[in-house]
Amino acid sequence: MTGLVTTTPALETRALVAGYEPDLPIVRGVDLSVAPGELLVVLGPNGAGKSTFVKAIAGVAPIHGGSVTLAGRDITDVPAHRKITQGLAFVPQTENIFATLSIHENLQLAAAVLPKPVRPDRIRALYDRFPDLAIAPSRLAGALSGGQRQMLAVARALIVDPPLIILDEPSAGLSPKIVSEVFEMLQRINATGVTVILVEQNVKAALKIASRAVILVEGQIRHEGAATALLDDPILAKLYLGTGHARNHSREAELP
């Protein structure tokens, strides 16, 4: 193919197959291209494989086929701990901070991938950006509230100034007020030029801040389009309810 492509995607997956056992693929051939500066939201019912998809990209779920490219570089086989220095930051869905370390230690740990002289400045910059964390840096992170935990998890991921950040359901378990705070924070991060991939169950709120959305169902992309268009599209309700599991009914209330 000759070049209609004008910019290198910030992230691209091709025919990505991933899962926890080789003969049981959870992600079944996902092609996704994310442009630099985009805020992409990944939607889909529970168990669709959203977490597995982003974990595979981050290197913490096994990949069985296909490829992942980060800003044009193949990172399919790069071990998880080297992805952060290559510019891919990941905030997992659960257990995304070190509860037995203090807030400051969580940040120091993350800063260890940077050259020594810049570490204190980077940590200070994050405290400026997340003043809540600066109140008691020596507090155990396990003692933080849900919203503060997410702040710390995001702060940790941002320490290297990554061009791309992937977040897995950062709003899970938070009160509506805190959810909107978290989403505002993500919008601000995105406004600084950082590409954001956001996995969400909070469909309405996520679509409001996203530029584009994909819907993952049973490990495959079932729909892809502009976020605003999807917001009033009945396809959303249909796709969610299409899986017909009782555990998805709680999400109906959030759908248009």
Binding site: P79, H81, P92, T100
Partner: protein, 303 residues
């Protein structure tokens, strides 16, 4: 009952505590009970003996006791080299055995069984090379010093207590104040997240093996110096080591040391009160009580 049991208990406790720190660190990161840990103590002692003997053959002046201790400079030099070699031995066992099983995603019980096998093989190898006859670092005899309060200790014993204290403080500072210690704690809490945060988990596993083996080597050398060197030296300490690691709380360095002293003192007390044949039962009783009453130990984090 004589107060001397306190000194006996402290000395036994120091050796148990030092070994238990290795157990607690490897357990907290590798997440299986390594029953071959005792063999690292034995190997440490024998390696130091072999190296010290070799040094003595080259230069007899290095064998001349450093007053007031019973050993010459050959032993401290041998200790440094033995620490390195015991560390390398642990890394080799991990590379050949445990590492492969981990990569295959083997269940914990498989790792534990493999550690039984490794324990047996390492001990048999020692018996094969050095025979099972007890050996000593030195033939020199030592006079115990009166410390007051009815307590007596030899200079070797006091030195061992001092070295233990230094080693424990050093490891505690390493764990709490340094970047490597922070990474080790992070891996122990959540290896996947540690990887995401940029920690090379496989490297940290190697660090923890080396550190645990180094401490085991020191504990083994002390046991060899204060008691005797036997192929079963470490194996016979295994139950006290695990009792101390679990009583202290898995992952806690000060916990393991304090618990080591508690186990050592309890053993010495039991010997005084009920008889020497009950010594081995003490660790077992402590282990069972902790597991029933407070499984996370004195300083462990809640599960």
């Amino acid at each position: 009952m004589t107060p001397q049991f306190v000194m006996d208990g402290l000395i036994a406790g120091a050796m148990i505590g030092l070994g238990a720190i290795g157990v607690t660190l490897t357990y907290s990161i590798l997440r299986f009970a390594n029953f071959a840990h005792g063999e690292l103590l034995s190997w440490g002692a024998y390696l130091a003996m072999a190296i010290s003997g070799t040094i003595g053959m080259v230069s007899t002046t290095l064998l001349k006791p450093i007053a007031p201790f019973s050993f010459g400079w050959s032993l401290p030099i041998a200790t440094v080299l033995a620490i390195l070699l015991t560390g390398l031995l642990a890394l080799a066992v991990d590379a050949l055995l445990f590492g492969r099983l981990r990569r295959r995603g083997s269940a914990v019980i498989i790792l534990v069984m493999a550690s039984f096998g490794a324990s047996l093989a390492l001990r048999s190898l020692l018996e094969f090379i050095f025979t099972s006859k007890p050996a000593y670092f030195t033939k020199a005899l030592q006079i115990a010093i009166k410390l007051g309060g009815g307590l007596r200790a030899t200079p070797d014993q006091l030195l061992s207590l001092g070295m233990t204290l230094i080693a424990v403080i050093a490891v505690h500072l390493l764990m709490t104040r340094t970047s490597i210690g922070r990474s080790m704690r992070a891996v122990s809490e959540n290896p996947a997240l540690a990887g995401i945060a940029g920690v090379d988990v496989r490297k940290m596993i190697r660090v923890v093996w080396f550190l645990g083996a180094a401490l085991a080597c020191i504990a083994g050398i002390m046991t060899g110096l204060l008691v005797q060197i036997r192929p079963y030296l470490g194996h016979d300490l295994l139950l006290p080591l695990f009792a101390a690691a679990i009583l202290g709380g898995i992952g806690s360095v000060p916990g393991a040391m304090l618990a080591g002293l508690i186990v050592g003192l309890s053993e010495a007390l039991a010997v005084q009160l009920v008889g020497a044949e009950w010594r081995a039962a003490v660790s077992f009783v402590i282990l069972v009580i902790v597991l029933l009453v407070r499984p996370r130990g004195l300083f462990g984090r809640a599960a």
